[in-house]
Symmetry: C2
Subunit: 213 residues, 2 copies
DNA sequence: CCATGAAATGAGAGTAGCTGTCAAAAGGTG
DNA sequence: CACCTTTTGACAGCTACTCTCATTTCATGG
């Protein structure tokens, strides 16, 4: 649900023979910073955690932290599902109804994301609810994801991806999904996220179905 | 499209006999800060404008600026349409189809907002496109407006305003409308905003109608 | 295997947004 | 006019973030 660089590494950082030592080190540093941040945030909260502390625990200089992540929020948020989702969208058969495609791809993305690290998914959404700056940054990334979605919808339907209609449609979907994440976290992750997304898709597809108090 | 305090003053700050001198001065200060900010932003851009400069031109101390506005972005963004919209929503007949109500109220809000100060509307949306921090703050306020909309939808349909369905529905609408503002500004305000909103409503109501490339 | 060039890092200084405290000034009230 | 409350300004302080420059670390061709 976000853009940015470097994959979450399906491989461990050490065993990638094709990459030079330099690249491998960079990946390691990136992960060290992330890990340090998550740990510190868990221990003392987001606001109380300073870049200096993060740098210290990750054993790099503060300068380096900023070289790897433009903002503090990005350390927590940055992931790389956007291109993955895009790929999956393209892989679906062209004659499949659009909403089915979306539903399928979202479910798959969730499966991947949660399996990857359920703790992190929860911490992340929790921070979105708790810390305005994080939520804010997350919403920022909605625009990026939105442009991508427009592209996909354009390819799919032959419409102009820059038209108002497509853009509104895409943003409505993303807004809905974002709200689903917030809902999930606000209710302490009690629900099954996949079910929630399913219900969200129903609403996006049919609107509020008549009277079901 | 935003929450917050103090109305944009249908009255000029001086002629309000019912308010004490203290209150009148507060309103004046608030407007002075806003005016100073708009002017400076126009002259030298948003980022180049510092709180110190704003304070100087508004003839107050920097501390005072922060007392009136929690963040720099808020000086530019803060308006008070949310309660107005809420009121209008409640005023519409209960048996009117929901989408018609929404359409009507949005159009009215736009008419008010634009008439109030067309320059400011444009500058504001322009900044939303240009300055990430402003866009970010704007999106933040989406949550607030969202909760309000949920409330209205709840009253209207008898549904639980905290249910996932209502929240997703509300957020989809707001996301769509937000995107409309961005679209408007990105295209240099060439379109008639009212028409854009009308088209947005169509999409929100019926989805992407079949094949109109 | 070493020398040369390129890239990554660290150190430090600097900016600006924002918070908190406290004393002075201004507004309201008897 | 005196007393109390609210608002303000001055100042100190924190932290995210930027920029610059010297140093270190890796890559490569001879």
């Amino acid at each position: 649900m976000n853009s940015m660089t470097a994959a979450p590494s399906p491989f461990s950082p050490t065993d990638r023979p094709q990459l030079g030592l330099r690249e491998r080190k960079k990946i390691k540093t990136r992960e060290a910073i992330r890990t340090a941040t998550y740990a510190l945030v868990r221990e003392q909260g987001y606001d109380a955690t300073t870049i200096e502390q993060i740098a210290e625990r990750a054993e790099v200089s503060p300068s380096t932290v900023f070289r790897y992540f433009p903002t503090k929020e990005d350390i927590v948020l940055t992931d790389e599902y956007d291109p993955l989702i895009m790929e999956e969208l393209r892989a679906r058969p062209m004659d499949e109804p659009w909403m089915d495609t979306l539903r399928f791809v979202m479910q798959k993305a969730i499966r991947l994301g949660i399996k990857d690290d359920p703790e992190v998914s929860r911490l992340r959404t929790h921070l979105m609810v708790q810390v305005p700056a994080v939520r804010s940054r997350m919403m920022e990334s909605m625009s990026v994801t939105g442009t991508m979605l427009c592209q996909a919808i354009g390819e799919r339907t032959g419409r102009d991806p820059d038209s108002l209609e497509v853009r509104v449609y895409a943003m409505a979907i993303i807004g809905g999904l974002m709200e689903t994440s917030l809902y999930w976290a606000e209710n302490d992750h009690r629900d099954d996220f996949k079910d929630l997304v399913d219900r969200t898709m129903d609403v996006l597809e049919h609107g509020l179905s008549p009277e079901k108090p």
